[in-house]
Each structure stands twice: as C-alpha cells, then as structure tokens.
Symmetry: D2
Subunit: 135 residues, 4 copies
C-alpha cells in the first residue's frame, strides 16, 4: 500500500485554553492530509470523475492522542491507505514531531454519486479511480 | 428597527491558548445569532423563498473586542437590523456578560439567487422577505 | 451508569460544501455535550477542584456516522458514562434527529494535574469528583 | 512599511453548504499569515521576549469579501503592517487568486504582558520587538 508524507504547521487558532491543539482539530488535519495524498494522484474527495460527480462522505473516524502538540509545531504526517474495499476506503494517519509520535488516526469514507441537491447514493469506487488511488 | 436577544454559551473549543475566546469565533457567533433572528421570523440565510433558492453571502464583517470572554461564560447577544437596502442587509450585534460589554460587530450580506451549481446572482430582496425581516 | 440529554442546533458554519455537517464537528458537539453533563453536576473539564487545578486531556476519540445532519437540524444528544477507571473516563454519545440515529461516538480523557505552565501530570480522579460524576 | 507574501490552500472543512469558503475562516487565514510574517522575523503573537511573556490580543478585525474562494484554491496572501502605534499594531491583508482580488482585511492587536493566570496588562511594544517588526 502506498504511503505519502506531508507537514502541518500548528496555528494559533488550533490551540485551546489548555495550551495545546484541540483534539477535534486532528480530524481536520487528517482530512487535509488525505486531500494532499489524493491531489498528488490527480484525485480529490469531491470531484467530477469520468463524467460522474462523486464524493466520499465519512462513515467513521478515530484518533489516539499520544503527546500534546503546540502552537507553531511543525508536524510530520504520514498518510497510508489502510484498506480499500469495493465501496469504501480507509486512510491511516501518523502524526509525529521530530520523530516523536503525537497522534494516530483513521478515517473511512464511502464512494457516492452526488446528485444535484447533494443527495448521496453509494456506488463502487470507479476502477480507474481505484487504480490511481493505489499508485 | 427591530431587535432580538439570544444567548451563547462559550464552549471549550472556542478558546485558544491565551485562555480566552479566539477572536475569529465571534463571527461564527454573529452568524448564528442572525440565523436565530431570522428563524424567529420564519426566514433563513439560505432557503427556498416563494419558489426561488436564495442565499445571503457576506460582503463585509467587522468586530471590536472590548473584554475577553472565557470558557463557560454565558453571553447575551443583541441582534438588530442596522441597515436594509434594496439588495443588502446589515446586522449589528452586541455581546455582553451580565451587563458588561464584551464585543460589538456588524455583518453585511447581499441577497442572491443560488443556481444549481451554487453560482450566485445578486437580486433585490423579495418584498415579502424584507417585510418579514423588519417585523 | 447515569445518562443525560441535551440538544444541538446545527449552525451554518457547521456545514461543508457537501451540504452536510462536516464530520470533524461532531467531536466539538461531543465535547460540548460532555461539558453540559458535567456542568449539571457542578463539574467541568478544566477547573479548580478541592484546591487542585485539574484537567481532562483527551486520549482517544471515535465517531461512526450513520445519516447526514443538515443546517438548522435540532439534534438530540444522549450522553452516558461508558467507563470510569481510576485515572480515565469514557463518555459515549448518541446523536439522533426525531428518533432517527445520526451518529454515535466515544471520547476518553485522563485526569491530570495542570501546572502553572499548563504541563500535565496524570493522577487518580479525586474520589469526590468521581462520586459527583456518577450521580 | 514592509510587506510579506505567503499562500493558503483552501481545505474542505473551510467551505460551507454554499460551496464556498465560510466568511469567518478568513480571520483564521489572516492570523495565520500574520504569524508567518512574524516568524520570518523571529517574532510571534505569544512569546517570551527579553524575559517578558508578551501577547497580542486582538481589539478589532474586519474583512471585505470581493469574490468567493473555493475548495483547493491556492490563495496568495499579501501581509503588510498598516499602522504601528506605541501599544498597538494593525496588519492589512490582501487575498488574491491568480491576480484576482478575493478579500481584503485588517486586524489590530495590542501588546500585553501576560500574567501567570493569562491576565493581560497593556504595555508599550518593546523597542527591540518594534524594530524587528518593521524590518
């Protein structure tokens, strides 16, 4: 399974009154890293693909927090495809700071056709999208 | 011009490492109070109104911060229609805590038709919407 | 184990371009519901308790998304203490809309002494805090 | 007055159900760009400077929105020091996309000593900080 690396600089507004990154923000960071992984392969989480308007709504997400991250920290983010099913994809994320593990998480999404009113219909991941995803 | 009152409880994630509400969050609070003002009149910021899909994208926003707000504070929010033009509406907001002024802000939006791909076209505020807005 | 109910009104800024609540926001909603649960018992996630400055940093969080939530939806939130250990507490959350299940999640936190520079030291949950938590 | 340029990639969670960047997020983007400006000069919005713990709480913020920004847009951000008083500093920000103006904003902050409980006391900007700021 391919892996991908990017970085994330912690912003002031990512912190809370405990002086550390608020735990919910790691889910934003995960999604952003997933989008970077996809962009590097010409893909996205919401796009027109071969004439179809597809999206990847999330069905589950989890994160374990090992060490606090702080304002101006530059985190390394490792993104990998943990599992790719017929209709769903699970990405795994490992956040670290100069080699020290900070957090680990997973996000699972399902492939959907997006209708004109944003209504969703689950479909198999298009084979050409899947192939690109796993490059 | 009519006024409206609601409250806002400060949440943990609204704070930042300075131990106070992050300044950008007041703009979320203003929008939410505007929506409550509108809901009390059967209106919204994005809705089907007399068969037209209308929205109110923001064209300007400002806030002055007088005192810090903190976790679990219960803020009073006074909402008033500052100005209602042909195509735009400006709401004014005053945040206070037990009578002490915390922040004051304004947000101006323009009335738009929203197309199927979310494209926007400025229009006059429908007269029936305007009338309800000023009740 | 005690349960608690509160509600959450979906705000415009909670949505994303898919027209539904962004998945990361459910973690904000969970924390806010936990704080309401605690407030109803005279407790909080960060407070001075019997002369000690204690906090509850999160060590893990997860959410399963069953149905999309939308702007202006009024969600019911059921909060329950899933597990209370010596040093940690896990809250479970069930979000529903008029009886329809929307999302289910869990958040685990550890009890810590908070030092003057916000440094954290894990401790046993004070017995009086634990007792109040389970009332 | 010196200027500084950085970029900002729009993330999925920056958007709202109107399909565009939610207006409140531009204030996060402004703060982040200010921090980048400061970091390039060895400064920050909250730091120990010559033995003093200083911070820059915001006293006013405003933004005019000219064109919508969308998911995956790469915005150029021009940061300039609009005004530097004895105790306050105003930064101006201009967001553009391939030369097209998107938004313009300003944020004014005051220099404060930060006490052990995060209490704030306004002070003159330290001369050495000011000098670095204007380099």
């Amino acid at each position: 399974m391919p892996t991908f690396h990017c970085t994330r600089r912690i912003e002031f507004c990512d912190t809370d009154m405990a002086g550390i990154v608020h735990f919910a923000n790691f889910f934003r960071f995960m999604e952003s890293a997933e989008v970077e992984y996809l962009r590097a392969r010409g893909l996205s989480v919401k796009m027109v693909w071969e004439g179809q308007n597809i999206g990847f709504p999330r069905v589950s997400a989890s994160c374990d927090y090992l060490k606090a991250a702080k304002f101006e920290d530059l985190l390394d983010v490792e993104v990998s495809t943990d599992q790719v099913g017929n209709k769903s994809v699970t990405f795994a994320f490992a956040f670290s700071r100069q080699g020290e593990a900070i957090a680990k998480g997973k996000v699972t999404s399902v492939c959907c056709l997006v209708g004109p009113g944003n209504e969703l219909q689950g479909i198999d991941i298009p084979p050409s999208y899947r192939q690109r995803l796993l490059e």
